[in-house]
Symmetry: C2
Subunit: 139 residues, 2 copies
């Protein structure tokens, strides 16, 4: 989760949304990513999607764990379910409820850490950039 928070902070330092993600296999980081809406003008590059893009073509995700600083939305939950990532460890869901029921219905183990740093970082960002946040989640 620390690496995902690092990614989120990197994104924020670039003027982007502070959401980071890391894909792990056997305790090792396979790939990292962060939200790229502002940086690349790409609305599909949510942190988890950016991370899974960086991981490249994988034969299977069965032995991977996806970390994200924020509860995945339906786009990212859809990626998790479609590609069979069995476990998702999430920084927080206070600032965004996301799609945990959808993932759990498809047998994904979703762990919500309610991490204070993640909660504070996102809360501050949403308060300062409400329009950018709304755009990012399509609201």
């Amino acid at each position: 989760m620390l690496a995902a928070i690092e990614e989120a902070r990197k994104s924020m330092s670039q003027g982007g949304l502070p959401i980071g993600s890391v894909l792990v296999r056997d305790g090792k980081i396979v790939a990292r990513g962060h939200n790229q809406r502002v940086q690349k003008g790409d609305p599909m590059a949510h942190a988890e999607i950016d991370c899974l893009t960086h991981a490249g073509r994988q034969k299977s995700y069965k032995d991977t764990v996806l970390y994200s600083t924020l509860m995945p939305c339906y786009l990212c939950s859809g990626a998790v379910v479609q590609f069979g990532v069995p476990r998702v460890i999430v920084g927080e869901s206070v600032n965004f409820a996301g799609g945990p029921e959808f993932m759990r219905r498809h047998n994904v183990d979703v762990v919500d850490l309610q991490n204070a740093d993640c909660i504070e970082m996102m809360k501050k960002f949403i308060a300062e950039h409400p329009e950018l946040w709304s755009e990012d989640i399509g609201k």
Copy 2:
């Protein structure tokens, strides 16, 4: 749908998966895309995601229609639901069932054309490249 089929054929001519997508607003094409797994080594660049990436940042998708030559998977259905695309017109669902119930549960109008060209194109590709197809849908 013809423009989406064009995109699918373009992808096939590049050695990629023959799935194409187009985003339309007021009868005009906003963006086009096709599957880029082979071309870019990007497992997230399904046709619909590639198309929505090319559309760039949008304030709203409420007045758009997304076309795809194949029924969207959960990744792409998740994008449709998250960003509030109200209507999806699909070439076929014979070769891949995808996630229409998930989209319909979220009030997306999903129209399945059962287009013979789309069915034949995908059927032939899956028969010739079964491993690539399995990889693309995470099976």
